[in-house]
């Protein structure tokens, strides 16, 4: 079998899912095994608003803010990813001639995570321990399930939630889930699509794309702030997990995956 490609899209509303799906169809016609991993923050936020679930964010002591996934938010995340974002991708892939099978981390124990039982935040200037957060980090991928589907000619379409040690669902970062999937499959390439042409030397200048971005083996990556810091962490985890090549590329353009594979991307090393 040819080298596997893992593509991560979504989250950013600017990424065009149809263009991604057409590119994936092209790869599958060349018999390349492809796994699509997706988030869906626009769907999550839209559905939360519609259901009257307040979006809570927490500020960590270092000033970084993150979604607070309380029990109700986790349900909205699950609904939005499994019931809105995933069917849209499955429909687009099917219309491009691809047999796609949607999975969350709960299917066959696909994404196992360690739940963060406690983390810290600053509320009203006082530091607190947050204990009702249903999120965690992927620790194990059931790559056998993915290989079974790939061998049968399907494109697995994977998203959070993952399943925690206690069997309950937990939210998890989709970029890092994609890295774990790519590492679990020993993928040749991981393509992280985003709403920018790659990693920018100057975040305000889209012309300042770095062809290569080196990330130290540990510690805070460069260019943090916004989503790019977390993407670089995911990229590092994929590389450390044995993925051949990690590309951060523009999801807004036509032919987003093809262009990334052809070099229009930042390669993380």
């Amino acid at each position: 079998m040819q080298e596997t490609i893992v593509v991560k899209c979504g989250g950013n509303a600017a990424v065009d899912p149809l263009a991604v799906c057409e590119d994936i169809a092209g790869l599958t016609r060349e018999r390349r095994p492809v796994v699509l991993v997706h988030g869906g923050s626009a769907d999550i936020e839209g559905l939360a608003a519609r259901m009257g679930v307040a979006s809570r964010r927490l500020t960590a002591p270092d000033g970084v803010s993150a979604r607070h996934t309380d029990a109700e938010t986790l349900q909205v995340v699950h609904l939005a990813l499994a019931g809105l974002a995933k069917p849209r991708l499955l429909t687009a892939l099917a219309s491009a001639g691809v047999s796609a099978v949607g999975l969350t981390g709960l299917d066959g124990g696909l994404l196992r995570a360690r739940r963060k039982t406690a983390h810290r935040a600053v509320v009203d200037g006082r530091r607190i321990v947050v204990r009702d957060d249903h999120s965690g980090r992927v620790t194990e991928v059931n790559d056998a399930l993915l290989r079974t589907l790939l061998a049968a000619g399907h494109v697995p379409v994977v998203s959070p939630p993952a399943v925690a040690e206690d069997g309950r669902p937990v939210n998890t970062d989709a970029d890092r889930a994609a890295a774990a999937v790519a590492a679990g499959l020993g993928a040749g390439t991981l393509v992280l699509l985003t709403g920018a042409p790659g990693v920018l030397a100057d975040p305000a200048d889209e012309g300042s794309v770095l062809p290569v971005c080196a990330v130290a083996p540990s510690g805070t990556p460069p260019f943090t702030g916004g989503g790019m810091g977390l993407k670089l962490v995911a990229a590092r985890e994929a590389l450390q997990g044995g993925v051949g090549r990690v590309l951060i590329a523009d999801g807004r353009r036509r032919d987003p995956v093809g262009a990334a594979l052809a070099g229009a991307a930042t390669e993380v090393v």
Partner: protein, 54 residues
């Protein structure tokens, strides 16, 4: 005031104390979490993993 479970010093709290609030022991620098406020109980705060905003 509560007693630090690590070094047995007295530790002062902000008023009113809040459940899950973290305070630091002035003597041994342990971080303590307020578990309940009535009665006032504290324990060592859980260690926190490195976290990139996940």
């Amino acid at each position: 005031m509560v007693i630090c479970p690590e070094c047995e010093s007295s530790v002062a709290l902000a008023e009113p104390p809040k459940v899950n609030e973290i305070i630091e022991c002035g003597d041994c620098s342990s971080e303590l979490e307020v578990l309940t406020v009535d009665p006032l109980q504290v324990a060592l705060a859980p260690d926190v993993e490195e976290d990139w905003g996940e």
